[in-house]
Amino acid sequence: MGYLAEGFRKAFIILFSGQEETFSAIFTTLKVSTFSIIVTLAVGIPLGFMLGYYTFPGKHAFRAVSDTLMAIPTVVVGLLVYAFISRSGPFGSFGLLFTLRGVAIGQFVLGLPVVVSLTASATEQMEDSVKMTLMTLGASPGQLAASSLWEGRYAVIAAAMTAYSRIISEVGVSMMIGGNIKWRTRTITTAIALETGKGQFAEGIALGIVLLAIAFAVNGFVSVARRRASI
């Protein structure tokens, strides 16, 4: 157990001394995950809302696919995206492999089903009385849809935070698409995997602490949003 305690001691030294390599991985993670979640939400919230709000042919099949993809292993997403953006793939000419843009695409694929399915669930679970209230107040169809989405905002925020948790903690996509290139595509999770493999527990623990802190903060938001959604 001594090496663990020693690992924690060194981890705090690394964090408080501002070691460049460690902070490079932290900033890279924040940069790519923030970009990924923004794009994921921009696409996923409208899609999820339409899936939950409207009735159309194939709705249940689409929902089943989205629900299933929520649990897709990150390495499978990595593999699929790799196949598309590698040199011999259909999008090989864009030069996305081993770039943060490539990682962001993978994370988008990973987070999208989470946002779509959870937003659809939140919309479906919205009480009929909310829709009825908006109608009795004279909302037009457009106002009805926009106001319904706004009324479900806390559940949608919870969906967004859940997707962000999945994105920031994934390792498969970042490793396979990003390639774990130091100073460029190395993220917190790929760095932890690497440092642990090298026996450098202190660096791994330091990055793990940062990741846990982010996860706690995100889950704190999720918890508050869920409480507000249920009032």
């Binding site: 009480e127 009385s129 909310v130 009825m132 209230t133 908006l134 109608m135 009795t136 107040l137 004279g138 909302a139 037009s140 169809p141 106002q143 106001s147 706004w150 009324e151 905002r153 806390y154 507000r228 009032i231």
Partner: protein
């Protein structure tokens, strides 16, 4: 008085089951119409049709003399419905009350209108406007919901049990605000309430519904089962204190509820002795309501746990000299009871 609504042969059904049949119904502009009836009698369905929230499967609805063909927000903005437990939007009180105005693009003087309407429902704008939806009691929420509709100055205000699940103080304020809306704005009001006293006090006309139909344009006595077929060829129902209601035999087993017109019930202070009426039942006066238009009085009598309402003239009432708490005998014929 011109009619704001006319319903002709309106029917509504869900999943093949007919829940509402209205051969004819008219509601005068600027009137207050009360609707009473037990749960499942079709009141809420009728209200949703009047509020243009659903389209009947059959018949025609005329609004302000025009047939209702397409239901859209333009039409819905003429009639607004307040539900029993209205849902507030997850916003501040101000935003809730202002929502309908903003939806209509009426942004001029919005603060003044919202504040005035909050005062109308007894809520101080300084204290309440900034509160969030979960910082209100049930009664305050219902008052905000009413303010959200009153601020729109709707042509028709439809209320489904607006005071059923709130405190008495809020109920009184809501009742007063509704009557004020008619007096000040000329709003036509359609209200469903189990509070018979209020329904009669507030309404120009009270409609009684049962089993999806309008039974009368006044209150009607509903005598549910269990009814038994008696050896003498009548149908009987035993009251809790052992007295018996006798009715003509039910046509068949499916008919399980008796209806009795308040005009068919005679009140007597003494046993009438030999009479052709089969029913002489002892009870106690529990309530008296003046009917607004006719000037008659509806006297409600509790007899062995079953409530009967009789319509008497004010002259007869003063001759009888009864008050709530007086013992009386209600008299009616066996063939006055109709079966549904």
């Amino acid at each position: 008085m011109t009619n704001i609504y006319e319903l002709m042969d309106v029917t509504q059904s869900y999943g093949g089951r007919t829940v509402l049949e209205v051969p004819e119904m008219k509601i005068g502009k600027g009137s207050i119409v009360g609707i009473t009836g037990p749960n499942g009698s079709g009141k809420s369905t009728l209200l949703r049709i009047l509020a243009f929230l659903e389209r009947p499967v059959g018949g025609r609805v005329y609004f302000k003399g025009e047939p209702v063909i397409d239901i859209d927000e333009t039409l819905r903005r003429e009639a607004t419905l307040l539900l029993q437990e209205s849902k507030l939007l997850k916003r501040t009180v101000f935003e809730n009350v202002a929502y309908g105005l903003k939806a209509r693009g009426m942004k001029e003087g919005i603060s003044r209108k919202v504040n005035q309407t909050l005062e109308m429902v007894g809520l101080d704008p300084v204290d309440f406007a900034g509160r969030l939806w979960f910082q209100l009691s049930g009664g305050e929420s219902q008052r905000v919901a009413l303010a959200s509709r009153l601020v729109l100055r709707p042509e028709v205000l439809i209320l489904d049990e607006p005071t059923a699940s709130i405190d008495a103080g809020s109920g009184r304020i809501i009742a007063r605000a509704i009557v004020d809306a008619r007096e000040r704005l000329g709003t036509t009001i359609v209200l469903v309430s189990h509070d018979i006293d209020w329904a009669y006090a507030a309404s120009d006309e009270v409609i009684s519904m049962f089993s999806g139909r309008i039974r009368s344009r006044t209150i009607e006595n509903i005598i549910p089962g269990p009814w038994k077929d008696c050896p003498d060829g009548t149908s009987c129902r035993y009251l809790e204190n052992g007295q018996v209601i006798t009715a003509v035999r039910r046509p068949e087993e499916g008919y399980s509820t008796g209806l009795l017109d308040p005009d068919d019930i005679i009140l007597s202070l003494n046993d009438p002795g030999n009479t052709s009426a089969r029913n002489t039942i002892r009870g106690t006066v529990v309530r008296m309501n003046l009917e607004n238009e006719e000037g008659n009085v509806l006297v409600t009598v509790n007899a062995g746990g079953t409530v009967f309402t009789s319509r008497v003239t004010t002259g007869s009432l003063s001759k009888l000299g009864i008050v709530p708490g007086s013992p009386v005998i209600i008299v009616f014929k066996a063939n006055s009871i109709r079966w549904v």
